[in-house]
């Protein structure tokens, strides 16, 4: 039985190592929050998020395919391997899209795909960056006038610091609640119940964050802090709210795409267009390329085993 959980643990570890950068990256890269504290807070809130808010997403992914436990484990393995290969080649990759691709890849062969659920998931993928963009725009418009009324430089600094901790913790909570379904969702109803899946998935993401997130955090962080402190925090807050909303709806989405949306929204509100062709290409590739590759890898694995 343990063998069936192993791919999930590996995937969770990779997810934690990669995606915690989307919540604490900028704050760590520009030195507002020390790395060590960032990963501790992130790990704690990821587990809390998974356990308290992960149920809906876990059920969605659990119901995406009616296949066997073996098929579920191979799907996750396919997703995990795809993420590893694509990361190695520097391709944009989202765990959410890879796992769904893996499940659907094998599901197509077996005719066990629940198309209604898949449609709901894909709609959510497309609306993730758009939603985050809208939220980022609105948040900026609402909070900026208030923030610019603070005349004291000291007070501004303090507020930015406090907000970095709060938004980071909230983002980690949302990350856990939303993305835990990628890790153990496929095993729900086959090997694990929802509570077990939430706890095991959450812990594996937390361990990934604690052990291997530094490099990604610094690279992603530096990319986002091209913006000023205020705008980068607004972007992350927008990403966190978006991802959290989708965790309530019950669909795991890409935090990386959400953060891109947040950055674009905040930028737009500031009056600068930060969108470029590369960014759009990466998002489209996430919707189509990632699930196709993961589906093929999972299918290949299934046929080999």
């Amino acid at each position: 039985m343990l063998w069936y959980i192993l791919p999930s643990l590996a995937l969770g570890w990779g997810l934690g190592a990669n995606d915690s950068a989307n919540v604490f990256g900028p704050s760590v890269a520009n030195g507002i929050v020390p790395y060590r504290w960032a990963i501790i807070i992130a790990a704690i809130f990821i587990v809390i998020g998974s356990v308290l808010g992960g149920a809906a997403g876990l059920q969605t992914i659990g119901s995406l395919s009616s296949g066997s436990l073996f098929e579920a484990a191979i799907s996750i393995l396919g997703g995990a391997i795809s993420v590893a290969i694509m990361t190695y080649f520097g391709l944009p990759v989202s765990t959410s899209q890879a796992v769904v691709g893996g499940i659907v890849g094998i599901g197509l062969l077996k005719g066990s795909v629940n198309w209604a659920v898949l449609l709901k998931i894909v709609i959510c993928w497309v609306t993730t960056p758009l939603g985050a963009m809208g939220i980022g725009f609105l948040l900026y418009k609402i909070v900026a006038p208030w923030f610019s009324r603070i005349k004291s430089l000291k007070l501004q600094d303090r507020i930015i610091t406090a907000a970095a901790w709060f938004i980071g913790a909230y983002g980690a909570f949302a990350l856990g609640a939303n993305n835990v379904a990628n890790v153990t969702g496929a095993l729900v109803g086959k090997l694990l119940n929802v509570q077990q899946a939430a706890l095991i998935g959450g812990l594996s993401i937390a361990i990934g964050t604690l052990t291997f997130s530094k490099r990604v955090m610094l690279t992603v962080g530096k990319r986002i802090i091209e913006l000023d402190h205020f705008s980068s925090l607004i972007s992350i807050f927008a990403e966190s709210i978006t991802v959290w909303v989708y965790s309530i709806i019950g669909v795991p989405v890409s935090t990386s795409q959400a953060v891109v949306g947040g950055v674009l929204g905040a930028g737009l509100a500031r009056g600068t267009s930060l969108a470029n062709r590369g960014m759009l290409y990466r998002i489209f590739f996430g919707w189509i390329g990632t699930p196709v590759i993961a589906g093929l890898v999972a299918l290949g694995l299934y046929l080999v085993f």
Partner: protein, 214 residues
């Protein structure tokens, strides 16, 4: 003000202490120039020593503040701004000291025709610094008010520039030795630098504030 940390307070206090000391250096610099231009050598010597002592005091304070700054107060990118600013402010005291040293060493013969103008030029340079000082002090508490003083620094510097140019014209129209003209020209330029450097520092204050606009 529960949001304000102790480290920040400590740094701000040190920063202000440094500003005060640079201010005192400039006051002594003005006293020195007045005494020298009034041919009061004894008083000038006293002021010369005062300027040097105050300048090294300012240097020591700058180093202390810089060390404190890297203990983790304020946001990291702001630390860089502050560091640049304190260096810029310190350069003003350095330049005042240079003027005092050169005048003490060379004992230039300053023509009567431009002595009063020179006193005014020195006064304006010191006043330019005072506007800068106010802008730095307000920067921490009230960025809008700091902006007002940045503008005033620019105005004072412009005033100083005008008088500096007039003095140059007057100097070169005098019937004196060319070497003497060049010697005095250097002093006029150096006094002008005090105002210029104060304006440079105020530009840094301005950029720091602009960076925070959302």
């Amino acid at each position: 003000m529960i949001f304000i940390g102790k480290k920040e307070e400590k740094i701000i206090n040190k920063f202000k202490e440094h500003l005060q000391t640079v201010g005192k250096t400039l006051d002594a610099f003005e006293e020195f120039m007045r005494a020298y231009l009034d041919d009061n050598c004894e008083e000038a010597d006293k002021c010369c020593e005062k300027v040097m002592n105050l300048e090294s005091e300012a240097d020591a304070l700058r180093r202390e503040t810089e060390t404190l700054m890297y203990s983790g107060a304020f946001l990291p990118n702001f630390r860089g701004d502050l560091l640049g600013l304190i260096e810029a402010v310190d350069r003003i005291a350095d330049r005042a000291e240079t003027v005092v040293r050169i005048v003490s060493l060379q004992q230039p013969d300053i023509p009567k025709e431009i002595r009063e103008d020179m006193k005014r030029q020195v006064k304006l340079s010191v006043e330019t610094f005072k506007e800068l000082k106010a802008s730095v002090e307000y920067m921490f508490e009230d960025m809008d008010k700091a902006g007002v003083y940045i503008k005033r620094t620019e105005e004072k510097e412009h005033e100083e520039d005008t008088i500096e140019w007039d003095m140059m014209k007057k100097l070169f129209s005098l019937d004196i030795d060319r070497a003497q003209k060049l010697e005095i020209k250097e002093i006029i330029t150096l006094i002008g630098d005090v105002a210029d450097l104060a304006e440079d520092a105020s530009d840094r204050v301005e950029i720091t504030i602009l960076k925070r606009r959302v």
